[in-house]
Subunit: 128 residues, 2 copies
Amino acid sequence: MASLGELERAVMDLLWAGHEAATANTLRDKLATSTEAKGDAAGHEGKELAVTTVLTVLSRLEKKGLVERERGTRPHRYQAVSSREEHTAELMHEVLGSAPDREAVLAQFIGSVTESEAETLRKLLGHV
Amino acid sequence: MASLGELERAVMDLLWAGHEAATANTLRDKLATSTEAKGDAAGHEGKELAVTTVLTVLSRLEKKGLVERERGTRPHRYQAVSSREEHTAELMHEVLGSAPDREAVLAQFIGSVTESEAETLRKLLGHV
DNA sequence: TCAACTCTTCTACGGTTCGTAGAACAATGA
DNA sequence: TCATTGTTCTACGAACCGTAGAAGAGTTGA
């Protein structure tokens, strides 16, 4: 149950970007303005969504365990459960985990990584 | 357009496993017997599917670029476009590629890899 | 060449997920 | 208490997936 729809992803991107907790209203506004004034190519356009739409999406993200909300405050505040990096890394593990031959996959993976990333990896692995 | 349904995945698994080209009929039989005689837990049970079902799935996989078929031979023969490892590694890159801070994700990723895998990675990267 | 058979394509339906939002209900402030 | 603001419920249409019948096309034995 990992994959996100387009709007769901846009919302997560906002939560990850300014990583404070946000209200549905704030998010709706950001969705409207983000990538709107600049005819952004890949952006998720600047449509004025109904707040309920945003709320529905947030509920779904909550159910998926990606978002948690403070129910105490009156306009509930929503925030990402984990950072984008954590989440992405987790996804990578998920993908990798489903393979019988993990090491072969890793080999393949490493083979197509940029040199600078390879360098980063060497450092992280405690360069021999 | 990356994610696969359960049956689609089962078919890919078969194509990857015995990695010869196979006909729809062969695949249907294998789907029926694989993981059937042993009450396998996670397996995709041993139901007798209609051949057309398998064909539909194969067509969809073809459209997704995961499978190619030989149209020349009469019972068309289907095979995976890339190996499971290639495919999985590609998926990992896809996941990683969508992140703004790739290196941070890699850091996170490496942090939760098993020691033996870390060792493998060192070898692959290292030859220092 | 014709009939029987095999295989593929077309079409379709029900379930699930996602984008979208109205209607109704709850809380909060003046 | 009333108006405002926010939340939950419910719902609908599109897309994707599992599933398969009906019809069309190729193959082959007689």
